[in-house]
Symmetry: C2
Subunit: 303 residues, 2 copies
Amino acid sequence: MIDVALLGTGGMLPLPERFLTSLLVRKCGRMLLIDCGESTQVTMKMLGWGFKNIDVICFTHFHADHISGLPGLLLTLGNSDRTQPLTIVGPKGIEKIVGGLRLIAPELPYDINFIELENNIEEFTVGGFALKALKVDHRITCYGYSLEVARCGKFFPEKAERLGIPKPMWSQLQKGETVENNGIVYTAKDVLGEPRRGVKLCYCTDTRPTEAMRDFFYGADLLIYEGIYGEDEKLPKAEKYKHSLFSEAARIAKAADVRELWLTHYSPSMPEPELFLDNARAIFPNTYIGEDRKTREIKFAEE
Amino acid sequence: MIDVALLGTGGMLPLPERFLTSLLVRKCGRMLLIDCGESTQVTMKMLGWGFKNIDVICFTHFHADHISGLPGLLLTLGNSDRTQPLTIVGPKGIEKIVGGLRLIAPELPYDINFIELENNIEEFTVGGFALKALKVDHRITCYGYSLEVARCGKFFPEKAERLGIPKPMWSQLQKGETVENNGIVYTAKDVLGEPRRGVKLCYCTDTRPTEAMRDFFYGADLLIYEGIYGEDEKLPKAEKYKHSLFSEAARIAKAADVRELWLTHYSPSMPEPELFLDNARAIFPNTYIGEDRKTREIKFAEE
């Protein structure tokens, strides 16, 4: 139902063997990108999903390692003959920041729309993606994101037949639309069962753990969450710079009852994050080390 | 006398196997960088000369592929505990452009000074580097750079002895300083021969060939010049976007009587520039394909 690619796993600065943390999501051929640090377009090129179909770019916050790749990517999108508008989402002030960066990318063949986030929780749909944003706890305003794909109830053809609804109208009802037959209006509810579990993906980096995260991430198929350091001894440093440890990520994943956790946004001082994986798995066994261009297809569950 | 590293050889956008065109020069342990596109700090990291000793960053022009890596590099310099001021050189307007980019890198532990270029030819010394800049012919204002290390004449100890200058004063005279002995003032001219050939390095990209280049590059030990396309058939495209072909680079190198030419700033559409090297060598045999992190030590000539 959606394809997910973790484009990079680093924090602070791009390294020869590690790109900066960024996430690409693909749904029905259209794409959404979260964060775009320096070199993100290079790892995107290596991934091979193309550039042209990115409709939305969300930013967690304005630290350079999450946004410095934007001007280059905007130009590359322009060179891919894109003309459809692009939507950029981010904390309040994003339009001004992008204006500054666009001094070196002033001419683009497409328009940019902005969605500026202000509240603690925001909910909106853009480019076909149903998103929520949660204000988290970093040194500057920062948001985590949740993307959900809803799934309607199961279709019961016997109900439609019993109601005498002509077959050509069935697909409209299955899409949630309303149809009229012989003067009677039918809704999806008449032929569908209870809404089923959809898919939910969460991405959150550059923050201390917060209380609100448990509800916000609750039941996610996949949570991608930062683990700047693997060792618990580095808690004071994580607290000072407002980041999270492996063990903290795992505790949040457990509390929010997510299905799977990927760690990311590793400190450049941690060349081998896998050495500390057990510090997370002891708390939440279904934790994995995020790797550059690690991909996952998240499907609706079989019934 | 100077060490030169061509950090990347690409134009337009960084590629998985090719960084953007940029040059690092090292002299007496201090460094000067020309151009800083997205990912330049990654290839610098791979090169291993460090970041901290960069005192000067020059920009040819404001197209993103030459400047988009600046905010990330400024932060990396800050994280290397740099506190000495940095000088940024570029076409008029550079301070405003850097101001826009610094919206995502507002806090740095060092000051930035600016030198804005306005005239067709400018000459200045900054951070111990004697530089000249030549306005060239691109779609926006663009400069080529020339860096020269002068060399004083040969020292004749017999002259110093004949004049009765005490030995401890000799090294001052060799540095071009003035000394006084028994009421008589001596200058370097009294003990040195004619000034000798120093070293000269030129870097020029994103331009059509111009008349003024011959004098500007004249006699350079190394000319690094763009070759966006290898084939002469692409002249109309090079003219349209104001770039130069391999053969044009070679003609300039020949006319300016340089010692060696390195090509760079290859189009992403040209994955194997070496296939077209003969198009340049037929005109200027001492042409080489620039490669990412190709280095060269340029010394004073043996006498």
